[in-house]
């Protein structure tokens, strides 16, 4: 009888630890799913989004305040529509803020950076950020640099 008890206790402990480990993996190593009702949606149109991906951070002053939820091509206006979900508690972002696609580090992943404007009207569910700046494509930049330095030599 004593032995059965030991078997049961160690089995129970094992199963408990197993589930605890899975719980740890799910809650501690991931950020978890985004809760829909605590965010509001804002759109922005870009000429070029570079390699911006869904779930990329949206940051203001370097702090992540939301995430990109959709990147879509608009066939009518031939530009990219980026939908961002911004956390509800940041609801005082001026409407004339401008959005630009930036790169973390020299070759890091891309994110959307918001620069505050001066308007008293704030961004809200469904509004659009009008001032946008496209991603810098490294090849274009190098191309421009080469052309400029080439013409510099001629003078």
């Amino acid at each position: 009888m004593q032995q059965t008890r030991a078997v049961e206790i160690s089995t129970g402990l094992f199963v408990f630890l197993g589930f605890a480990a899975l719980f740890f993996l799910i809650t501690q190593t991931t950020t978890g799913g985004y809760v829909q009702d605590e965010t509001y949606e804002v759109k922005a149109r870009f000429q070029n989004v570079g390699s911006l991906k869904v779930r990329a951070p949206v940051s203001m002053a370097g702090v992540t305040i939301g995430r990109v939820s959709e990147v879509r091509f608009d066939p009518q206006r031939l530009d990219a529509v980026v939908t961002m979900r911004i956390e509800r508690r940041y609801d005082q972002i001026p409407e004339d803020s401008d959005a630009s696609i930036l790169t973390a580090g020299l070759l890091g992943s891309q994110y959307v950076g918001l620069q505050p404007g001066g308007s008293d009207v704030y961004l809200e569910e469904g509004s659009e950020v009008l001032f946008t700046q496209s991603a810098v494509v490294l090849e274009n930049l190098i191309g421009k640099f080469l052309v400029n330095s080439g013409s510099g030599d001629d003078k």
Binding site: S10, F14, L25
Partner: protein, 254 residues
């Protein structure tokens, strides 16, 4: 020559067919066993799971630690040591956790299952049960199979968690990677679907490794040599099966 080849292929297909018929037979009995012989299943979870804990925990810690060492060394060349958490967590959760656990499991628990059932076969205990109108598949094989299937995902979860802890100890405490960057970068990049992929893999590996172990044991040639051979075959075949299945699942989930 050709005839021998045909014979070999035929034999292989026959074994393969037997294995799957055996699997179907086990599947049919799952609810009944869980309901009527739960106690036996608990004993087998203890044998396959709780008793495998020491080897799983120790290997997980060192696998995590060595991942952190290697990762740190390579990442620091690109100045991105902060990504160590991501590297370690993703490789442990989606690949190393399930695969290494399955390999250790087939070495530690699979061999025990195969030799135990094989020895029962060799000493006519299975025939004795049949005489007493007890179905040995239900009484002996089913609980062991289920015990392995239940234990495997839990062991893999423990492996990944302990591995991450080991990597944390080596990476953050020993090598001095920033504590916040280690966790936050990990949380940014690992998604629920990665964890679920790991769990799915470990469930599949658990089924494969346990099935092969009980199948080899049950069909062992009833001699000392036969049991020995069945045990060896268990480890060899289930290791290959785990690695092949791993490739297939990973390719399918990409």
């Amino acid at each position: 020559m050709l005839r021998e080849l045909a014979y070999f292929v035929g034999g292989f297909l026959q074994t393969f067919g037997q294995l799957h018929l055996f699997f179907l037979r086990l599947l049919v009995g799952v609810p009944r066993t869980l309901w009527r012989r739960f106690r036996l299943v608990v004993d087998q979870v203890h044998n396959a799971g709780a008793l495998s804990m020491p080897i799983i925990v120790t290997s997980a810690f060192f696998v995590g630690g060595v991942l952190a060492l290697q990762g740190y060394d390579n990442l620091s060349r690109f100045g991105s040591e902060d990504a160590l958490g991501v590297l370690v967590a993703l490789s442990l959760i989606t690949e190393l956790g399930p695969v290494v656990t399955a390999l250790l499991f087939s070495g530690r628990a699979g061999t025990a299952l195969a030799s135990e059932i094989g020895l029962m076969r060799a000493t006519d205990q299975l025939s004795a049960m049949e005489m007493m109108a007890v179905d040995p598949v239900r009484r002996v094989v089913m609980p062991r199979f289920l015990g392995g299937v239940i234990a495997m995902p839990l062991l893999a979860g423990i492996f990944s968690a302990i591995g991450i802890f080991g990597a944390y100890m080596v990476g953050v405490v020993l090598m001095g990677v920033d504590y916040g960057a280690f966790w936050s970068q990990m949380q940014e990049s690992v998604e629920i679907s990665d964890v679920l992929q790991g769990v799915l893999k470990s469930v599949v590996f658990g089924i494969a490794a346990s099935l092969l172990a009980v199948f080899e044991g049950y069909n062992a040639i009833p001699t000392a040599e036969g049991v020995g051979r069945a045990t060896t075959r268990t480890v060899v075949i289930s290791s290959i099966a785990v690695l092949v299945l791993d490739f297939m699942i990973t390719a399918a989930m990409m």
